[in-house]
């Protein structure tokens, strides 16, 4: 609130670039640093990790943090720090494809709902409502139980649960611009429906979707961790944070360090992406603010 006021009061000449605006806000700065930390960890995991995250050391089970193992070991003696470091890769390689899949499908269906006949529109709305009526986690649990844990199917299922949200967002923006002159002109000039939809409507409705998608990254990271915690996410022995937490939870009485450090990684990732996502939203599209708060 206060930040917005400050910006409003400045003369147009002094307006900073959007990037600077993000960085100069405390939440944006903290968020960027945390996200950068996670990204660098994921990219340079093999260099940073002190040990092989898969190497089993039965002699060193449940060792507490110490000199050999900085953050201790897990139930079969694997180095916790290395597993947490490699876990950032899993978190991102599931969350980001899930968002991309949801965005593509939601974009396509949303534009179709907004620009097609009333029949198509209302049946797509009912489809969105049906999908929305299933609690996302329960839906994912059911489908993953059917097909078993899989790295390839996981992002698709997670992405599908976001389709109603993206689809409705795009539909609303499409409805707003569908009677604009350039859309009507494209139609009048004989442009096909596909051409109008994807060449003229798409570029003009996509911006709010990107912001929403950026804000969904932490949601997806949490989602993946929750599913892996249940043993339905990324199949073992992959070092997913959800797995690490599961191991820690099952041994919480005699090896609490696993839950504490594993949880810390998850908190840094979700908090960082949320702080950054919200700042991006406030800077680029303040109108979305109220919706995001619900």
């Amino acid at each position: 609130m206060t930040n917005e006021k400050v910006i409003e009061n400045k003369s147009p000449k002094k307006r900073k670039s959007k990037f600077k605006k993000v960085i100069t806000r405390p939440s944006g700065l903290i968020g960027s640093v945390m996200v950068l930390l996670i990204l660098l960890t994921a990219i340079f995991a093999p260099i940073i990790a002190p040990r092989d995250p898969f190497q089993i050391n039965v002699m060193n089970r449940f060792e507490g943090p110490g000199r050999d193992f900085r953050l201790g070991t897990d139930d079969i003696g694997r180095d916790l720090l290395s597993r947490i470091i490699y876990g950032s890769r899993i978190a991102l390689t599931v969350a980001i494809p899930a968002i991309i899949f949801g965005v593509i499908l939601g974009l396509f269906l949303g534009i179709m709902a907004g620009y097609s006949s009333e029949k198509v529109d209302s049946s797509l709305i009912v489809f969105f409502d049906i999908l929305r009526s299933m609690p996302a986690l329960i839906f994912a649990i059911v489908v993953l139980t059917m097909i078993g844990p899989s790295v390839y199917v996981l992002p698709i299922i997670m992405g599908v649960t976001r389709v109603p949200i993206y689809g409705r967002l795009i539909r609303a923006s499409t409805l707003m611009i569908k009677n604009n002159e350039y859309v009507v002109a494209s139609h009048a000039l004989g442009g096909s429906k596909m051409r109008t939809m994807f060449k003229h409507i798409l570029p003009n409705v996509v911006a709010p979707l990107f912001i929403q998608a950026a804000m969904d990254i932490p949601v997806m990271i949490t989602f993946e961790a929750g599913l892996s915690f249940l043993g339905l996410g990324v199949p073992p022995p992959a070092p997913s944070w959800g797995h690490i937490l599961r191991t820690g939870y099952l041994n919480v009485r005699h090896a609490p360090h696993i839950v504490i450090y594993g949880g810390l990684a998850l908190i840094i990732a979700t908090l960082g992406f949320t702080l950054l996502g919200e700042t991006l939203r406030d800077v680029f599209d303040p109108r979305l603010q109220r919706k995001g708060e619900l």
């Binding site: 409502d129 299933m134 949490t222 929750g226 609490p256 702080l275």
Partner: protein, 313 residues
Amino acid sequence: MFAYIARRALLIFITVLGAIILLFILFQFMPGDMATILLGPRASESLIESYRVRMGLDQPVYIQIFRYLSNVLRGDLGTDVLNHLPVSGLILNVLPNTIILAFSAIFMACLLGIPLGVFSASNQGSFFDYLTGFLSISMITIPHFLAGILLLLIFAVYLGWFPAMGAGQSGDIFNQLYHLVLPATALGLGWVGYIARLTRATVLEELRADYVRTARAKGLKERIVLYKHVLRCSIIPVIAVIGVGFGNLMGGAVLIEIVFHRPGLGYMIYRAIATRNFPVLQGGLIVAIFLYALANFAADLSYAFIDPRVRGE
């Protein structure tokens, strides 16, 4: 208004129906045939076949769906394959635990979130305001189940103040409340953040209204202006959000119930998946979906009640 309610109610009916049909289709692809599960791997082919015929599993899918739907409408959700009890009875046994959990989570969230929001709005820009903002966002982002595990670690394992699992002895209300504290806190924590932020935003908006200036001008104490005048108006959107929250909590409750071994709807669904107990799974999912749709319906209604523009959508 009436037309709007009717339209929303019809939409709920269609979505729940659609969800049931979707579930049924999904179940067709599930590995593990119900007859084989019930009769065990050693059952002879002919026995399995006769069971399939008796249960109607040999019929085409659409007939199965129709039969199931007509049973559901009569309140019959099938029979548990493991102990032959009616599924509806099992669900009625555990459902109160989940509903109590969700309600106490929301209650706790309001109890902490609303005062926090009002206070940080009335001290806008202060250190406390920033602290609340940061705490709120931290509470929102921490995953429910992680909050649950950490609370379990601190308050049940280290300090031993609260029990780690179960829902308490039935009949003993104090014991049940005692068992409720940790799960409800874990589930409600994120909503403390949401409600604090929402309250802050609406209070800030209201503070600019003319009636606030009037109230201040006639010499009312700031506290009375805040809590008696402003809060009354700014609480409405918060109430509307609670409807949405209740729906979301149904999903979050699954993991919390698993973490705390609390016998509720989510835990039942999870157990049913692990044991491939299809009728229980199906019944549990349908009830969960129905409750979720109902909560969303209530939220839509409260929005429409508050904001007349929604009705003419």
